[in-house]
């Protein structure tokens, strides 16, 4: 097992944000993390990134507790993108990619910057300040930053939130294409069920800090007798009895 989450729990004061969750992710698979707002997705991602300390439980990478890795060593293998986390607004796109490339110790940095910029179509605003870009442009730059180090584990928190359908589709197609060409394990938190169906090998459904179901999209749809993932999500999100 590449990533193993074991009895992971996070309590903020008296509020239990994540309640003893368990799941595994195989290498080079894409897993969707679904659930209503406040269900614990972001906290789970935060714990995996080392930004939030778990109250109990453990996160294992290749059977080794994440805390036993050297901070640099493990974070070099990760990256993260979210529209809610921005890059320095007053720096140009190229400056931001250069700085993060250096922080991640990327070899042949200029080549990598041009390569990823070509792929994500961001070269035409390379020298513009990041704060002056549109949401779609910012999202692509954020994705470029998250791929600068060719991460083994990529965490994406609603990567297409608030994007128009065209740009949203561009990003989904890019991620789809990227994961077929590169060895990457992706954990994708999203509210876009079409996106999840398209990109994920399996999904984890969360509600009130707990995992309420998991499996492939087809399995879950069939199991809950619904026509698509959106209907399945609504059924699980609204049912109280399963907790």
């Amino acid at each position: 097992m590449f990533i193993e989450i074991k009895e992971l729990k996070k309590i903020y004061n008296k509020f239990c944000a994540v309640n003893n969750i368990n799941f595994q992710i195989d290498k080079n698979k894409t897993i969707g993390l679904l659930g209503p707002n406040g269900c614990g997705k972001t906290t789970t991602i935060g714990m995996m990134l080392g930004l939030v300390s778990p109250t109990s439980g453990e996160i294992k990478i290749e059977n080794k507790n994440i805390n036993l890795f050297n901070r640099d060593e493990i974070l070099k293998r990760f990256n993260f993108a979210s529209p809610y986390v921005e890059l320095p607004k007053k720096l140009t796109v190229k400056q931001n990619l250069e700085i993060y490339g250096r922080l991640y110790g990327v070899k042949n940095l200029n080549k990598r910057i041009y390569e990823i910029s070509d792929d994500l179509n961001i070269k035409n605003f390379f020298y513009r300040k990041t704060g002056e870009l549109s949401s779609g442009q910012k999202n692509r730059v954020s994705l470029a930053k998250s791929l600068i180090n060719k991460p083994e584990i990529l965490l994406l928190d609603e990567p297409t939130a608030s994007l128009d359908p065209d740009i949203g589709d561009f990003i989904r197609s890019y991620i789809q294409d990227y994961k077929t060409k590169n060895k990457v394990t992706i954990l994708l938190a999203s509210h876009n069920m079409g996106e999840v169906e398209r990109l994920c090998d399996s999904v984890i459904m969360m509600r009130k800090g707990k995992i309420i179901d998991q499996g492939t999209c087809k399995e879950l749809i069939k199991k809950h007798g619904r026509n698509n993932l959106e209907e399945t999500f609504l059924k699980l999100a609204r049912s109280e009895d399963e907790l």
Binding site: L51, V52, S53, D72, Y84, L87, L103, G105
Partner: protein, 263 residues
């Protein structure tokens, strides 16, 4: 320590300065205004005060050294606040950079920001008021070192507060130095303070730094043991600041505030 990463983080702040002329102007503006203000006050006192009558420029030199401390601390705070304002906190703290490398990068870059602001002001003071801090000679290096360490320590304590309490702690960042200034005996000897406050003041490096500065300028006498005492006190505070920063960082991880720190 990985110097490439320290350089990368330093570069982030240098780009920020280089990309904006108003930002450079802002860095230079306030120290220059300070020098003008204290230059005229200094001139008045040298003409009208018995204490300062024989030594031109003690007040202005004190103002320059105090501004150095102030700029060092504010620079450190500002760079940290920039990460909060730009909502870049998460990206920074998930990058493979050690906390001590972040502290080192901010400490090194703060001196560049400080010097960009202060050097023009110091140069202006020479022809305009006939005052040069270089008159302090070699001890100036040690006095600046002690001031810088203490300025960075205040920066560390304020940024620890930002980690602990979030952006609402920002106002304390601006107020922190004004709180300590009266006890620092920047413009007056320690004897002016009430006895109880003298005890507290002596525990700060500022008193020893500014007393020594006055001694050098007025008596032409350098007491290196005093200077090294001020450096030692500054180092002790600096270590304390680093420890507090680490405690705040781990506390922020516990409370999950690193995940959503922003404006």
């Amino acid at each position: 320590m990985n110097f490439n990463k320290i350089y990368a983080l330093g570069l982030r702040h240098l780009y920020l300065i280089m990309n904006s002329f108003p930002r450079v102007l802002d860095l230079i503006y306030w120290p220059t205004v300070q020098i003008f203000l204290w230059g005229f006050i200094s001139k008045f006192f040298t003409l009208n005060s018995e204490y300062y009558s024989n030594t031109v420029g003690i007040i202005l030199t004190a103002a320059i050294l105090y501004d150095f401390l102030f700029r060092a601390s504010i620079s450190f705070n500002m760079m940290f606040l920039e990460e909060i304002w730009s909502r870049n906190f998460t990206n920074l703290f998930i990058a493979p950079i050690k906390i001590r490398e972040i502290i080192a990068a901010l400490t090194i870059t703060a001196i560049i920001r400080t010097l960009i602001g202060l050097v023009p002001a110091v140069l202006i003071a020479i022809p305009l008021f006939g005052v040069s801090v270089l008159k302090l000679g070699i001890p100036l290096i040690f006095l600046l070192l002690a001031l810088y360490l203490f300025g960075i320590t205040l920066g560390l304590l304020v940024t620890s507060g930002l980690l602990r309490y979030g952006p609402s702690f920002e106002n304390i960042a601006w107020a922190s130095l004004f709180f300590l200034a009266p006890l620092g005996c920047i413009y007056y000897p320690i004897e002016i303070l009430p006895t109880s406050l003298q005890i507290i003041a002596k525990a700060l490096p500022l008193v020893h730094i500014f007393e020594e500065m006055r001694s050098i300028l007025m008596n032409n006498y350098v007491n290196y043991s005093n200077i090294f005492k001020s450096i030692t006190i500054s180092i002790v505070y600096f270590i304390f600041g680093v420890i507090i920063f680490y405690i705040s960082y781990f506390g922020a991880k516990k409370r999950g505030t690193l995940m959503n720190m922003g404006e």
